[in-house]
Symmetry: C2
DNA sequence: AAAATATTGTTATTTTTTTAACAATAAGTT
DNA sequence: AACTTATTGTTAAAAAAATAACAATATTTT
Protein backbone atom coordinates (compact mmCIF):
# COMPACT_ATOMS: atom_id res chain seq x y z
CA UNK A 1 0.00 0.00 0.00
CA UNK A 2 1.01 3.56 -0.67
CA UNK A 3 2.47 5.45 2.26
CA UNK A 4 -0.43 7.08 4.04
CA UNK A 5 -0.56 10.78 4.80
CA UNK A 6 0.93 11.80 8.14
CA UNK A 7 -2.35 13.01 9.51
CA UNK A 8 -4.18 9.88 8.52
CA UNK A 9 -1.62 7.79 10.38
CA UNK A 10 -2.15 9.89 13.49
CA UNK A 11 -5.88 9.43 13.27
CA UNK A 12 -5.61 5.68 12.69
CA UNK A 13 -3.85 5.40 16.02
CA UNK A 14 -6.69 7.30 17.63
CA UNK A 15 -9.39 5.37 15.81
CA UNK A 16 -7.92 2.14 17.04
CA UNK A 17 -7.94 3.24 20.65
CA UNK A 18 -11.54 4.40 20.49
CA UNK A 19 -12.63 1.34 18.58
CA UNK A 20 -11.05 -0.92 21.16
CA UNK A 21 -13.02 0.90 23.84
CA UNK A 22 -16.18 0.26 21.89
CA UNK A 23 -15.31 -3.41 21.43
CA UNK A 24 -14.78 -3.69 25.16
CA UNK A 25 -18.29 -2.31 25.64
CA UNK A 26 -19.63 -5.09 23.43
CA UNK A 27 -20.33 -3.01 20.35
CA UNK A 28 -19.67 -4.82 17.07
CA UNK A 29 -20.48 -2.35 14.31
CA UNK A 30 -20.03 1.37 14.09
CA UNK A 31 -20.96 4.17 11.69
CA UNK A 32 -18.54 6.78 10.41
CA UNK A 33 -20.41 9.50 12.26
CA UNK A 34 -20.15 7.59 15.50
CA UNK A 35 -16.40 7.33 15.17
CA UNK A 36 -16.36 11.01 14.27
CA UNK A 37 -18.24 11.90 17.45
CA UNK A 38 -15.85 9.92 19.61
CA UNK A 39 -12.94 11.88 18.23
CA UNK A 40 -14.68 15.18 17.67
CA UNK A 41 -13.93 15.27 13.99
CA UNK A 42 -16.17 14.96 10.93
CA UNK A 43 -17.59 11.76 9.49
CA UNK A 44 -16.21 12.62 6.04
CA UNK A 45 -12.73 12.61 7.44
CA UNK A 46 -13.34 9.21 8.97
CA UNK A 47 -14.71 7.77 5.75
CA UNK A 48 -11.89 9.21 3.75
CA UNK A 49 -9.27 7.74 6.06
CA UNK A 50 -10.97 4.38 5.98
CA UNK A 51 -11.10 4.56 2.21
CA UNK A 52 -7.38 5.29 2.13
CA UNK A 53 -6.59 2.12 4.04
CA UNK A 54 -8.79 0.19 1.65
CA UNK A 55 -11.44 -1.00 4.05
CA UNK A 56 -15.14 -1.13 3.27
CA UNK A 57 -18.07 -1.07 5.60
CA UNK A 58 -21.53 -2.26 4.81
CA UNK A 59 -24.20 0.18 3.93
CA UNK A 60 -26.68 0.74 6.75
CA UNK A 61 -24.65 -1.34 9.11
CA UNK A 62 -21.40 0.57 9.18
CA UNK A 63 -17.96 -0.86 9.84
CA UNK A 64 -17.18 -4.13 11.56
CA UNK A 65 -15.17 -2.87 14.52
CA UNK A 66 -13.13 -6.01 14.97
CA UNK A 67 -12.13 -6.13 11.31
CA UNK A 68 -11.27 -2.47 11.29
CA UNK A 69 -9.14 -2.74 14.42
CA UNK A 70 -7.33 -5.72 12.94
CA UNK A 71 -6.68 -3.89 9.71
CA UNK A 72 -5.34 -0.82 11.51
CA UNK A 73 -3.11 -3.20 13.42
CA UNK A 74 -1.85 -4.67 10.17
CA UNK A 75 -0.99 -1.18 9.00
CA UNK A 76 0.52 0.28 12.13
CA UNK A 77 2.15 -2.73 13.72
CA UNK A 78 4.65 -5.27 12.64
CA UNK A 79 4.08 -8.92 13.45
CA UNK A 80 7.01 -9.19 15.79
CA UNK A 81 6.37 -5.82 17.42
CA UNK A 82 8.85 -3.00 17.55
CA UNK A 83 11.46 -2.38 20.19
CA UNK A 84 12.13 1.02 21.67
CA UNK A 85 14.99 2.60 23.60
CA UNK A 86 14.57 5.58 25.91
CA UNK A 87 17.57 7.83 26.42
CA UNK A 88 17.39 9.99 29.56
CA UNK A 89 15.69 8.48 32.58
CA UNK A 90 14.33 11.71 34.03
CA UNK A 91 10.75 12.78 34.61
CA UNK A 92 9.52 12.32 31.09
CA UNK A 93 11.54 9.22 30.32
CA UNK A 94 10.27 7.43 33.42
CA UNK A 95 6.70 8.57 32.84
CA UNK A 96 6.82 7.15 29.35
CA UNK A 97 8.21 3.82 30.46
CA UNK A 98 5.61 3.40 33.15
CA UNK A 99 2.89 4.41 30.81
CA UNK A 100 3.83 1.97 28.04
CA UNK A 101 4.38 -0.76 30.56
CA UNK A 102 0.68 -0.80 31.43
CA UNK A 103 -0.45 -1.12 27.84
CA UNK A 104 -0.25 -4.43 26.08
CA UNK A 105 0.96 -3.19 22.76
CA UNK A 106 3.26 -4.11 19.95
CA UNK A 107 5.51 -1.28 21.04
CA UNK A 108 7.86 -2.20 23.86
CA UNK A 109 10.54 -0.21 25.62
CA UNK A 110 13.32 -2.75 26.05
CA UNK A 111 16.22 -0.57 27.18
CA UNK A 112 16.93 2.77 28.80
CA UNK A 113 20.16 4.75 28.90
CA UNK A 114 21.48 7.47 31.17
CA UNK A 115 24.80 8.84 32.43
CA UNK A 116 23.81 9.44 36.03
CA UNK A 117 25.19 6.61 38.19
CA UNK A 118 22.08 6.75 40.35
CA UNK A 119 19.93 5.68 37.44
CA UNK A 120 22.23 3.13 35.88
CA UNK A 121 21.97 -0.63 36.43
CA UNK A 122 18.51 -0.43 37.85
CA UNK A 123 15.17 -1.45 36.40
CA UNK A 124 12.11 0.75 36.08
CA UNK A 125 8.92 -1.05 35.19
CA UNK A 126 10.97 -3.97 33.92
CA UNK A 127 13.15 -1.77 31.75
CA UNK A 128 16.84 -1.99 32.53
CA UNK A 129 18.84 1.23 32.49
CA UNK A 130 22.33 1.01 30.98
CA UNK A 131 25.17 3.49 30.83
CA UNK A 132 25.09 5.53 27.65
CA UNK A 133 28.34 3.87 26.58
CA UNK A 134 26.48 0.62 26.05
CA UNK A 135 24.00 2.20 23.67
CA UNK A 136 25.42 0.93 20.42
CA UNK A 137 25.92 -2.63 21.66
CA UNK A 138 22.51 -3.02 23.20
CA UNK A 139 20.69 -1.46 20.27
CA UNK A 140 22.43 -3.80 17.90
CA UNK A 141 21.95 -6.86 20.10
CA UNK A 142 18.28 -6.18 20.76
CA UNK A 143 17.64 -4.97 17.22
CA UNK A 144 16.00 -1.77 18.47
CA UNK A 145 14.73 0.49 15.71
CA UNK A 146 13.10 3.37 17.58
CA UNK A 147 14.61 5.81 20.07
CA UNK A 148 12.97 8.34 22.37
CA UNK A 149 15.17 11.23 23.53
CA UNK A 150 14.33 12.70 26.94
CA UNK A 151 17.72 14.02 27.99
CA UNK A 152 18.55 17.66 28.68
CA UNK A 153 18.38 19.59 25.39
CA UNK A 154 22.10 20.39 25.15
CA UNK A 155 23.07 16.78 24.64
CA UNK A 156 20.19 15.88 22.32
CA UNK A 157 22.13 16.29 19.05
CA UNK A 158 24.92 14.05 20.32
CA UNK A 159 22.40 11.42 21.43
CA UNK A 160 20.64 11.65 18.12
CA UNK A 161 23.90 11.01 16.26
CA UNK A 162 24.67 8.06 18.49
CA UNK A 163 21.24 6.58 17.88
CA UNK A 164 21.53 6.98 14.14
CA UNK A 165 25.00 5.51 14.20
CA UNK A 166 23.69 2.54 16.14
CA UNK A 167 21.13 1.85 13.42
CA UNK A 168 17.97 3.43 14.80
CA UNK A 169 15.40 4.22 12.09
CA UNK A 170 12.98 6.46 13.97
CA UNK A 171 13.48 9.10 16.66
CA UNK A 172 10.95 10.79 18.88
CA UNK A 173 12.54 13.92 20.34
CA UNK A 174 11.02 15.48 23.46
CA UNK A 175 13.74 18.01 24.00
CA UNK A 176 13.25 21.53 22.68
CA UNK A 177 16.45 21.23 20.68
CA UNK A 178 15.73 20.75 16.96
CA UNK A 179 17.59 17.78 15.51
CA UNK A 180 18.57 16.78 12.06
CA UNK A 181 18.86 13.23 10.88
CA UNK A 182 19.96 11.67 7.63
CA UNK A 183 17.56 10.60 4.91
CA UNK A 184 16.03 7.29 5.84
CA UNK A 185 15.56 8.07 9.52
CA UNK A 186 12.14 9.31 10.52
CA UNK A 187 12.17 12.15 13.04
CA UNK A 188 9.23 13.36 15.07
CA UNK A 189 9.71 16.27 17.44
CA UNK A 190 7.48 17.58 20.15
CA UNK A 191 7.95 20.59 22.33
CA UNK A 192 5.60 21.15 25.24
CA UNK A 193 6.52 24.80 25.60
CA UNK A 194 5.63 25.48 22.00
CA UNK A 195 2.21 23.93 22.58
CA UNK A 196 1.73 26.03 25.66
CA UNK A 197 2.82 29.26 23.98
CA UNK A 198 0.49 28.49 21.13
CA UNK A 199 -2.46 28.12 23.49
CA UNK A 200 -1.39 31.32 25.23
CA UNK A 201 -1.28 33.19 21.93
CA UNK A 202 -4.76 32.17 20.86
CA UNK A 203 -6.14 32.93 24.31
CA UNK A 204 -4.59 36.37 24.11
CA UNK A 205 -6.09 36.97 20.66
CA UNK A 206 -9.64 36.29 21.81
CA UNK B 1 -2.72 42.30 13.52
CA UNK B 2 -4.47 39.46 11.80
CA UNK B 3 -4.45 36.16 13.61
CA UNK B 4 -1.36 34.31 12.52
CA UNK B 5 -1.46 30.79 11.11
CA UNK B 6 -1.13 28.03 13.69
CA UNK B 7 2.12 26.81 12.31
CA UNK B 8 3.66 30.25 12.24
CA UNK B 9 2.81 30.70 15.90
CA UNK B 10 4.54 27.43 16.72
CA UNK B 11 7.62 28.51 14.85
CA UNK B 12 7.68 31.94 16.48
CA UNK B 13 7.96 30.24 19.83
CA UNK B 14 10.89 28.25 18.50
CA UNK B 15 12.54 31.22 16.82
CA UNK B 16 12.46 33.11 20.07
CA UNK B 17 14.14 30.36 21.99
CA UNK B 18 16.90 29.99 19.43
CA UNK B 19 17.32 33.73 19.08
CA UNK B 20 17.69 34.11 22.82
CA UNK B 21 20.43 31.51 22.72
CA UNK B 22 22.20 33.51 20.06
CA UNK B 23 21.80 36.74 22.03
CA UNK B 24 23.34 35.02 25.03
CA UNK B 25 26.30 34.14 22.85
CA UNK B 26 26.73 37.82 22.01
CA UNK B 27 25.39 37.68 18.48
CA UNK B 28 23.44 40.79 17.46
CA UNK B 29 22.30 40.19 13.89
CA UNK B 30 21.21 37.08 12.09
CA UNK B 31 20.29 36.06 8.54
CA UNK B 32 17.20 34.12 7.61
CA UNK B 33 19.29 31.16 6.54
CA UNK B 34 21.06 31.11 9.89
CA UNK B 35 17.77 30.94 11.75
CA UNK B 36 16.70 28.27 9.29
CA UNK B 37 19.78 26.20 10.07
CA UNK B 38 19.22 26.42 13.79
CA UNK B 39 15.74 25.00 13.37
CA UNK B 40 16.42 22.75 10.40
CA UNK B 41 13.83 24.41 8.22
CA UNK B 42 14.17 26.54 5.08
CA UNK B 43 15.11 30.19 4.96
CA UNK B 44 12.03 30.99 2.87
CA UNK B 45 9.86 29.78 5.66
CA UNK B 46 11.69 31.98 8.10
CA UNK B 47 11.40 35.05 5.90
CA UNK B 48 7.77 34.39 5.26
CA UNK B 49 6.99 34.07 8.95
CA UNK B 50 8.90 37.25 9.68
CA UNK B 51 7.02 39.00 6.93
CA UNK B 52 3.74 37.87 8.46
CA UNK B 53 4.57 39.49 11.78
CA UNK B 54 5.49 42.68 9.95
CA UNK B 55 9.17 42.87 10.82
CA UNK B 56 11.89 43.92 8.40
CA UNK B 57 15.55 43.14 8.44
CA UNK B 58 18.27 45.05 6.68
CA UNK B 59 19.66 43.84 3.44
CA UNK B 60 23.11 42.32 3.81
CA UNK B 61 22.94 42.59 7.58
CA UNK B 62 19.95 40.46 8.37
CA UNK B 63 17.62 40.82 11.35
CA UNK B 64 18.37 42.61 14.59
CA UNK B 65 18.01 39.76 17.05
CA UNK B 66 17.04 41.88 20.01
CA UNK B 67 14.32 43.65 18.06
CA UNK B 68 12.99 40.42 16.66
CA UNK B 69 12.88 38.75 20.07
CA UNK B 70 11.05 41.76 21.49
CA UNK B 71 8.55 41.75 18.68
CA UNK B 72 7.87 38.03 19.08
CA UNK B 73 7.37 38.75 22.77
CA UNK B 74 4.83 41.44 21.94
CA UNK B 75 2.97 38.95 19.80
CA UNK B 76 3.10 35.88 22.00
CA UNK B 77 3.04 37.39 25.48
CA UNK B 78 0.74 39.70 27.32
CA UNK B 79 2.25 42.48 29.44
CA UNK B 80 1.02 41.04 32.70
CA UNK B 81 1.88 37.46 31.80
CA UNK B 82 -0.61 34.62 31.74
CA UNK B 83 -1.54 32.35 34.60
CA UNK B 84 -1.87 28.62 34.25
CA UNK B 85 -3.52 25.85 36.26
CA UNK B 86 -2.44 22.23 36.13
CA UNK B 87 -5.06 19.59 36.90
CA UNK B 88 -3.61 16.20 37.89
CA UNK B 89 -0.37 16.20 39.84
CA UNK B 90 1.02 12.96 38.51
CA UNK B 91 4.17 12.30 36.51
CA UNK B 92 3.43 14.66 33.67
CA UNK B 93 1.82 17.37 35.76
CA UNK B 94 4.77 17.50 38.15
CA UNK B 95 7.31 17.40 35.33
CA UNK B 96 5.64 20.35 33.70
CA UNK B 97 5.55 22.39 36.87
CA UNK B 98 9.19 21.77 37.59
CA UNK B 99 10.10 22.55 34.05
CA UNK B 100 8.27 25.87 33.85
CA UNK B 101 9.56 26.82 37.27
CA UNK B 102 13.11 26.97 35.99
CA UNK B 103 12.24 29.24 33.07
CA UNK B 104 11.67 32.91 33.66
CA UNK B 105 8.75 33.36 31.35
CA UNK B 106 5.50 35.22 31.10
CA UNK B 107 3.75 31.91 31.55
CA UNK B 108 3.37 30.89 35.19
CA UNK B 109 1.71 27.91 36.76
CA UNK B 110 -0.01 29.41 39.79
CA UNK B 111 -2.20 26.54 40.96
CA UNK B 112 -2.48 22.77 40.76
CA UNK B 113 -5.46 20.55 41.50
CA UNK B 114 -5.84 16.90 42.37
CA UNK B 115 -8.19 14.58 44.25
CA UNK B 116 -5.58 12.41 45.93
CA UNK B 117 -5.19 13.48 49.58
CA UNK B 118 -1.48 12.74 49.39
CA UNK B 119 -1.00 15.46 46.81
CA UNK B 120 -3.35 18.08 48.20
CA UNK B 121 -2.27 21.02 50.38
CA UNK B 122 1.36 20.66 49.45
CA UNK B 123 3.57 22.77 47.25
CA UNK B 124 5.66 21.55 44.34
CA UNK B 125 8.16 24.02 42.95
CA UNK B 126 6.22 26.82 44.65
CA UNK B 127 2.94 25.71 43.14
CA UNK B 128 0.26 24.93 45.69
CA UNK B 129 -1.96 21.94 45.07
CA UNK B 130 -5.63 22.33 45.98
CA UNK B 131 -8.49 19.86 46.06
CA UNK B 132 -10.38 19.77 42.80
CA UNK B 133 -13.42 21.21 44.58
CA UNK B 134 -11.62 24.52 44.91
CA UNK B 135 -11.01 24.77 41.19
CA UNK B 136 -13.70 27.27 40.32
CA UNK B 137 -12.92 29.57 43.24
CA UNK B 138 -9.18 29.65 42.71
CA UNK B 139 -9.40 30.10 38.97
CA UNK B 140 -11.75 33.02 39.43
CA UNK B 141 -9.72 34.57 42.25
CA UNK B 142 -6.39 34.24 40.45
CA UNK B 143 -7.88 35.09 37.07
CA UNK B 144 -6.35 32.02 35.47
CA UNK B 145 -7.07 31.68 31.77
CA UNK B 146 -5.15 28.55 30.75
CA UNK B 147 -5.53 24.98 32.01
CA UNK B 148 -3.37 21.92 31.48
CA UNK B 149 -5.05 18.54 31.94
CA UNK B 150 -2.83 15.70 33.12
CA UNK B 151 -5.33 13.51 34.92
CA UNK B 152 -6.23 9.95 33.98
CA UNK B 153 -8.10 10.01 30.67
CA UNK B 154 -11.47 8.88 32.00
CA UNK B 155 -12.00 12.05 34.00
CA UNK B 156 -10.64 14.44 31.36
CA UNK B 157 -14.04 15.44 29.89
CA UNK B 158 -15.36 16.26 33.34
CA UNK B 159 -12.26 18.32 34.15
CA UNK B 160 -12.53 20.09 30.82
CA UNK B 161 -16.12 21.06 31.56
CA UNK B 162 -15.16 22.32 34.98
CA UNK B 163 -12.35 24.42 33.54
CA UNK B 164 -14.60 25.92 30.90
CA UNK B 165 -17.27 26.58 33.49
CA UNK B 166 -14.68 28.34 35.64
CA UNK B 167 -13.85 30.69 32.81
CA UNK B 168 -10.71 29.14 31.32
CA UNK B 169 -10.07 30.24 27.72
CA UNK B 170 -7.41 27.78 26.62
CA UNK B 171 -6.85 24.10 27.39
CA UNK B 172 -3.85 21.92 26.77
CA UNK B 173 -4.92 18.29 27.00
CA UNK B 174 -2.27 15.63 27.59
CA UNK B 175 -4.68 12.78 28.08
CA UNK B 176 -5.48 10.55 25.13
CA UNK B 177 -9.19 11.30 25.56
CA UNK B 178 -10.41 13.70 22.87
CA UNK B 179 -12.26 16.66 24.34
CA UNK B 180 -14.74 19.11 22.96
CA UNK B 181 -15.01 22.68 24.12
CA UNK B 182 -17.39 25.49 23.23
CA UNK B 183 -16.61 28.15 20.65
CA UNK B 184 -14.32 30.72 22.18
CA UNK B 185 -12.14 28.26 24.08
CA UNK B 186 -8.93 27.23 22.37
CA UNK B 187 -8.09 23.55 22.67
CA UNK B 188 -4.75 21.93 21.95
CA UNK B 189 -4.39 18.20 22.35
CA UNK B 190 -1.33 16.06 22.39
CA UNK B 191 -1.05 12.33 22.61
CA UNK B 192 2.35 10.71 23.12
CA UNK B 193 1.18 7.32 21.99
CA UNK B 194 -0.03 8.72 18.70
CA UNK B 195 3.38 10.27 18.11
CA UNK B 196 5.07 7.01 18.90
CA UNK B 197 2.77 4.95 16.69
CA UNK B 198 3.39 7.41 13.90
CA UNK B 199 7.14 6.98 14.18
CA UNK B 200 6.66 3.22 14.31
CA UNK B 201 4.56 3.28 11.15
CA UNK B 202 7.10 5.24 9.14
CA UNK B 203 9.92 3.06 10.42
CA UNK B 204 7.98 0.02 9.34
CA UNK B 205 7.38 1.49 5.87
CA UNK B 206 11.07 2.03 5.19
C1' DA C 1 31.93 53.29 -11.78
C1' DA C 2 30.35 49.01 -13.43
C1' DA C 3 29.64 44.32 -12.38
C1' DA C 4 28.90 40.69 -9.27
C1' DT C 5 27.00 38.97 -5.09
C1' DA C 6 24.14 38.25 -1.14
C1' DT C 7 20.09 38.88 0.94
C1' DT C 8 15.49 40.53 1.77
C1' DG C 9 10.42 40.75 0.88
C1' DT C 10 6.73 39.32 -1.76
C1' DT C 11 4.00 37.09 -5.11
C1' DA C 12 3.10 32.74 -7.49
C1' DT C 13 3.02 27.79 -7.53
C1' DT C 14 2.74 23.36 -5.57
C1' DT C 15 1.60 20.19 -2.13
C1' DT C 16 -1.00 18.61 1.64
C1' DT C 17 -5.07 18.45 4.25
C1' DT C 18 -9.80 19.23 5.02
C1' DT C 19 -14.41 19.81 3.65
C1' DA C 20 -18.21 19.49 0.48
C1' DA C 21 -20.96 17.27 -2.95
C1' DC C 22 -23.22 13.60 -4.56
C1' DA C 23 -24.17 9.13 -6.83
C1' DA C 24 -25.05 4.43 -5.49
C1' DT C 25 -27.66 1.44 -2.81
C1' DA C 26 -29.22 -1.46 1.17
C1' DA C 27 -32.69 -1.36 4.47
C1' DG C 28 -36.93 0.16 6.20
C1' DT C 29 -41.72 2.15 5.34
C1' DT C 30 -45.97 2.84 3.12
C1' DA D 1 -43.69 -2.98 -5.03
C1' DA D 2 -42.72 1.72 -5.00
C1' DC D 3 -40.91 5.26 -2.05
C1' DT D 4 -38.10 7.18 1.53
C1' DT D 5 -34.16 7.28 4.37
C1' DA D 6 -29.55 6.48 5.98
C1' DT D 7 -25.17 5.60 4.95
C1' DT D 8 -21.12 4.50 2.27
C1' DG D 9 -17.38 5.50 -1.10
C1' DT D 10 -15.46 8.66 -4.15
C1' DT D 11 -14.63 12.59 -6.76
C1' DA D 12 -14.40 17.60 -6.67
C1' DA D 13 -13.52 21.91 -4.41
C1' DA D 14 -11.60 24.74 -0.83
C1' DA D 15 -8.40 25.91 2.63
C1' DA D 16 -3.97 25.76 4.76
C1' DA D 17 0.84 25.21 4.53
C1' DA D 18 5.16 24.84 2.31
C1' DT D 19 8.16 25.83 -1.43
C1' DA D 20 9.79 28.19 -5.40
C1' DA D 21 10.60 32.17 -8.15
C1' DC D 22 12.19 36.41 -8.60
C1' DA D 23 12.51 41.50 -8.42
C1' DA D 24 14.72 44.96 -5.62
C1' DT D 25 18.72 46.62 -3.64
C1' DA D 26 22.67 47.32 -0.42
C1' DT D 27 27.30 45.89 -0.21
C1' DT D 28 31.51 44.21 -2.07
C1' DT D 29 34.65 43.38 -5.76
C1' DT D 30 36.80 44.41 -9.98
N1 LIG E 1 9.59 18.07 32.24
C1 LIG E 1 8.82 18.76 31.42
O1 LIG E 1 7.66 19.06 31.68
C2 LIG E 1 9.37 19.22 30.14
C3 LIG E 1 8.63 20.13 29.41
C4 LIG E 1 9.13 20.53 28.19
C5 LIG E 1 10.32 20.03 27.75
N2 LIG E 1 11.01 19.16 28.50
C6 LIG E 1 12.26 18.63 27.99
O2 LIG E 1 12.25 17.23 28.05
C7 LIG E 1 13.54 16.75 28.33
C8 LIG E 1 13.51 15.85 29.53
O3 LIG E 1 12.88 16.51 30.60
P1 LIG E 1 12.87 15.89 32.05
O4 LIG E 1 12.01 16.75 32.88
O5 LIG E 1 12.55 14.44 31.97
O6 LIG E 1 14.38 16.09 32.44
P2 LIG E 1 15.21 15.43 33.63
O7 LIG E 1 16.27 16.38 33.99
O8 LIG E 1 14.29 14.94 34.66
O9 LIG E 1 15.86 14.14 32.96
C9 LIG E 1 16.95 14.17 32.10
C10 LIG E 1 17.68 12.84 32.25
O10 LIG E 1 18.68 12.75 31.27
C11 LIG E 1 19.86 12.23 31.86
N3 LIG E 1 21.01 12.63 31.06
C12 LIG E 1 21.75 13.76 31.13
N4 LIG E 1 22.73 13.75 30.21
C13 LIG E 1 22.61 12.58 29.54
C14 LIG E 1 23.33 11.98 28.50
N5 LIG E 1 24.35 12.59 27.91
N6 LIG E 1 22.94 10.77 28.07
C15 LIG E 1 21.89 10.14 28.63
N7 LIG E 1 21.16 10.66 29.63
C16 LIG E 1 21.52 11.86 30.08
C17 LIG E 1 19.86 12.79 33.23
O11 LIG E 1 20.69 12.02 34.10
C18 LIG E 1 18.39 12.69 33.60
O12 LIG E 1 18.10 11.43 34.14
C19 LIG E 1 14.42 17.97 28.51
O13 LIG E 1 15.07 18.24 27.31
C20 LIG E 1 13.43 19.08 28.79
O14 LIG E 1 13.90 20.31 28.30
C21 LIG E 1 10.56 18.74 29.69
N1 LIG F 1 3.14 9.19 31.54
C1 LIG F 1 3.24 9.14 30.23
O1 LIG F 1 4.30 8.93 29.65
C2 LIG F 1 2.05 9.33 29.42
C3 LIG F 1 2.12 9.06 28.06
C4 LIG F 1 1.02 9.24 27.28
C5 LIG F 1 -0.13 9.70 27.86
N2 LIG F 1 -0.17 9.95 29.17
C6 LIG F 1 -1.41 10.47 29.74
O2 LIG F 1 -1.16 11.63 30.49
C7 LIG F 1 -2.03 11.69 31.59
C8 LIG F 1 -1.22 11.86 32.85
O3 LIG F 1 -0.25 10.82 32.94
P1 LIG F 1 0.61 10.62 34.24
O4 LIG F 1 1.61 9.59 33.95
O5 LIG F 1 1.05 11.93 34.76
O6 LIG F 1 -0.53 10.01 35.21
P2 LIG F 1 -0.47 9.84 36.78
O7 LIG F 1 -1.36 8.70 37.11
O8 LIG F 1 0.90 9.88 37.28
O9 LIG F 1 -1.18 11.17 37.30
C9 LIG F 1 -2.55 11.43 37.28
C10 LIG F 1 -2.88 12.38 38.44
O10 LIG F 1 -4.23 12.80 38.31
C11 LIG F 1 -4.83 12.75 39.60
N3 LIG F 1 -6.27 12.64 39.45
C12 LIG F 1 -7.02 11.54 39.30
N4 LIG F 1 -8.31 11.87 39.18
C13 LIG F 1 -8.38 13.20 39.26
C14 LIG F 1 -9.43 14.14 39.20
N5 LIG F 1 -10.69 13.75 39.02
N6 LIG F 1 -9.13 15.44 39.31
C15 LIG F 1 -7.86 15.85 39.49
N7 LIG F 1 -6.82 15.02 39.52
C16 LIG F 1 -7.08 13.71 39.42
C17 LIG F 1 -4.20 11.58 40.27
O11 LIG F 1 -4.33 11.69 41.68
C18 LIG F 1 -2.75 11.72 39.80
O12 LIG F 1 -2.04 12.57 40.67
C19 LIG F 1 -2.83 10.41 31.55
O13 LIG F 1 -4.07 10.69 30.94
C20 LIG F 1 -2.05 9.49 30.67
O14 LIG F 1 -2.88 8.62 29.96
C21 LIG F 1 0.89 9.79 29.97
Amino acid sequence: METLPDKTVERLSQYRRSLNNQLAKGKEHIFSHEIANLLHITSVQVRRDIMLIGYSGTLRKGYDIKELVDLIGKILDTDEGQKIAVVGMGNIGKAFIHYLYEKRSKLKVVAAFDVNPEKIDKSYADVYCYHLDKLKDIIAKENIKIGIITTPPQVAPEISDKLVDAGIKGILNYTPKPLSVPEGVYLEEYDMITSLEKVAYFVKKK
